[in-house]
C-alpha cells in the first residue's frame, strides 16, 4: 500500500507548532524523597516535524509529555510553543488546551460515547460548532479515516486499532498545533501496527501537524520520524538525535531499505547502552 500524500510547498519554518524545550527539569517529591525524572533536557522541534522520543522504560519521557500537555508542572526550565511561553519561570504548569492534544498510552476514548460522539466532543464543548454540526463533522472525519461504517459503535465494540485511529481523529478535529502521542501502538501486534503507521503517515501528510511521539519501538521511530531523539535513563536527558533523511511519502518497503537498516543500527547502539544502564539501576534499587 502506497501512502498518498498531498504535497505541501510551505517550508517547515513557516509551519505552526514549533516546540522549544529548554533546560527542563522535573523533580517529583511525593514522599519527601526527591526523584529526578527529567534533568536539564532541551530539544527543539520544528513546526510540522515528526519527532520521535525513544528511551528506556520509566526514564521520564511521559513526564516530559505531561509537562507539554499541562498535566504536570515542571520544576525548572521552560517550554515554548511558537514562541509563546507554555510553562517556565513563574508559571510552572502549562494550561491544558486543544492546541496540544494527547493520545494516551492506554487509549482514552470515552466508553460511554459512540465513536462519532467521542470525536464530536471537542468542538461541541468548545461551542465551536453546534452539537449537530459537530456530529456531522465528526462523521466526515471518521469516514476520511476509513471508519465510516463504525460511527455508531461504542469503543468497546471496535478493535483496538480502530479505537486508536478514532482517538487520533478525536484529537485532530480540534485543529491542534501539536499531537502528543504516548506509545499509542504499544500493545498491538505487528500487522495492526503496520496499518496504524500507514494511517498515521497518511494523516500527517494531509495535516502536517507537529507530532511528538513517545515509543520503545525503534523501527517505528525511524519509519515515522523526521528526527529520533534518544533520551537517557532516568533522569531523562537528550543523549543523541538521529535525523531520518528518508523522503516522504514512505511506504512499508522503506523498512527493508539499506538506509533504514543503517539508521536502525545507529539508534539501536545508542538505546542499548541506556537500556543496560536502566536495567542495572533497577537491580541496584531492588538490591
Amino acid at each position: 500500500m502506497k501512502v498518498k500524500s498531498m504535497a505541501k510547498n510551505t517550508s517547515k519554518a513557516e509551519k505552526k507548532g514549533a516546540l522549544s524545550i529548554k533546560n527542563v527539569t522535573k523533580i517529583y517529591d511525593p514522599t519527601g524523597v526527591n526523584v529526578m525524572a527529567v534533568d536539564d533536557c532541551s530539544m527543539e522541534i520544528a513546526g510540522g516535524e515528526v519527532c520521535m522520543i525513544v528511551g528506556p522504560s520509566g526514564c521520564g519521557k511521559t513526564t516530559l509529555l505531561n509537562g507539554i500537555a499541562g498535566f504536570h508542572s515542571i520544576t525548572e526550565g521552560s517550554i515554548h510553543l511558537d514562541g509563546e511561553l507554555l510553562c517556565g519561570p513563574g508559571k510552572p504548569k502549562a494550561d491544558q488546551s486543544a492546541e496540544r492534544m494527547v493520545v494516551f498510552q492506554h487509549g482514552a476514548l470515552f466508553p460511554w460515547k459512540t465513536l462519532q460522539e467521542n470525536v464530536a466532543y471537542g468542538p461541541s464543548v468548545q461551542k465551536a460548532l453546534s452539537p449537530a454540526q459537530a456530529l456531522d463533522k465528526a462523521g466526515q472525519m471518521l469516514a476520511e479515516a476509513g471508519l465510516g461504517n463504525f460511527l455508531k459503535k461504542y469503543p468497546g465494540e471496535v478493535s483496538s486499532g480502530m479505537a486508536r485511529r478514532a482517538e487520533i481523529v478525536r484529537a485532530l478535529i480540534n485543529n491542534p498545533k501539536v499531537l502528543l502521542l504516548d506509545e499509542p501502538y504499544r500493545a498491538m501486534d505487528a500487522l495492526t501496527k503496520q496499518i496504524m503507521h500507514e494511517s498515521l503517515l497518511e494523516t500527517y501528510d494531509r495535516t502536517g501537524v507537529t507530532i511528538f511521539f513517545i515509543t520503545h519501538d525503534l523501527e517505528e521511530a525511524i519509519f515515522l520520524g523526521d528526527k529520533v531523539h534518544i533520551v537517557t535513563t532516568r533522569p531523562c536527558q537528550l543523549k543523541k538525535t538521529v535525523e531520518v533523511k528518508i523522503p516522504r511519502p514512505r511506504s512499508y518497503e522503506t523498512q527493508s531499505s539499506e538506509k533504514f537498516r543503517k539508521l536502525l543500527a545507529e539508534v539501536n547502539d545508542a538505546v542499548h547502552e541506556e537500556a543496560v544502564k536502566a536495567f542495572k539501576a533497577g537491580e541496584r534499587e531492588l538490591a
Partner: protein
Amino acid sequence: MTNFLQKLFKNTTTRRGIGAVIIFVIIWHIGSQLDEWTGYDLLGIGLVPPPAHVFTAFLEVIPLHGYWMSWVASFSRVITGFLVAMLIGIPFGLLLAVNRYFRGVFFPPFEILRPIPPLAWVPASLIFWPTNEMSIAFVTFLGAFFTIVINVLGGARSIDISYLRAAQSMGASQFDLFWKIVLPGTLPSIFTGAAVGMGITWEVVLAAEMISGGGTQGGGGLGFFIWNSYMGGSLEQIVVGMISIGIAGYLSSSAIRKIGFHFMPWRRLF
C-alpha cells in the same frame, strides 16, 4: 403470547435455567424422601418438606388476599427505602468524590456509621420513629444507603484520569466534566451499588418485619408471613414464604439490570 413462549424456549439460556431449576427440585425431592426410602436422614438435615407439599401449600395461599398483601407491603417498603437511598446516596457519594472539603467533613462520620449493621438500628428506630412503618422504611433505607454511597464514591474516584485529562484538553468546563465524564463514568458503579443495595434491602426488610411483627395479617409483609407460618407450625408455608422472597428478589434485580441496560447502552456488549 405463544410466539413469545416459543421464542423463550428456543433461547438456550432460558432452557438451561429451567433445566437447572428442575434438577434442583428433583434433588430436593430425593433429599426429603431419603428417610423414608433408606431409613437414614441426610447428615445434619432433619425435616425437609417435599416439593410437592410446598407446591400444594403454594396453591393454597395463592387465592388468599393476605398473601398478596404481604407482597405489596414488602415490595412497597423495599422500593421506598431503596429509592430514598438512591436519591440521597448518589448525590452524596458524588459529592464525596469530587469535593475535598465535603469529603473531609462528611466522610469520617459516614465511616463510623457504616459498619453498624442495619438490624442494629431496629430497636433505636422503633423507639425514635412514630410508626412501625416509618421505622421499617428507615432501616431499609440504611441497608441500601451505605452500599450505594461506597460504590458511587469508589466508582467516581476510580475513573481513569486520562478521560478527565482528555476532556479538559478538549476544553470541557467543570460542568461538562461532571455531567459528561464523571457521571457516565460512575454509572456502572451506581448500578453495581444499586444491585447489591437492593439485595441488602430485601434482607433488612424481611428481618425488620419479623422483629417488628408488622401489625396486621396483610400489612406484615413477607417477613411476617414467614414468622406467622412458623408460629402456626406450617413448615410448608415457611418454605412458600422463602420462595416468594426469592422470586421477589429476582424480579427486583432483573428490573435493575433492565434499567441499567437502558441507561448504559455501551455496557450491553459485556
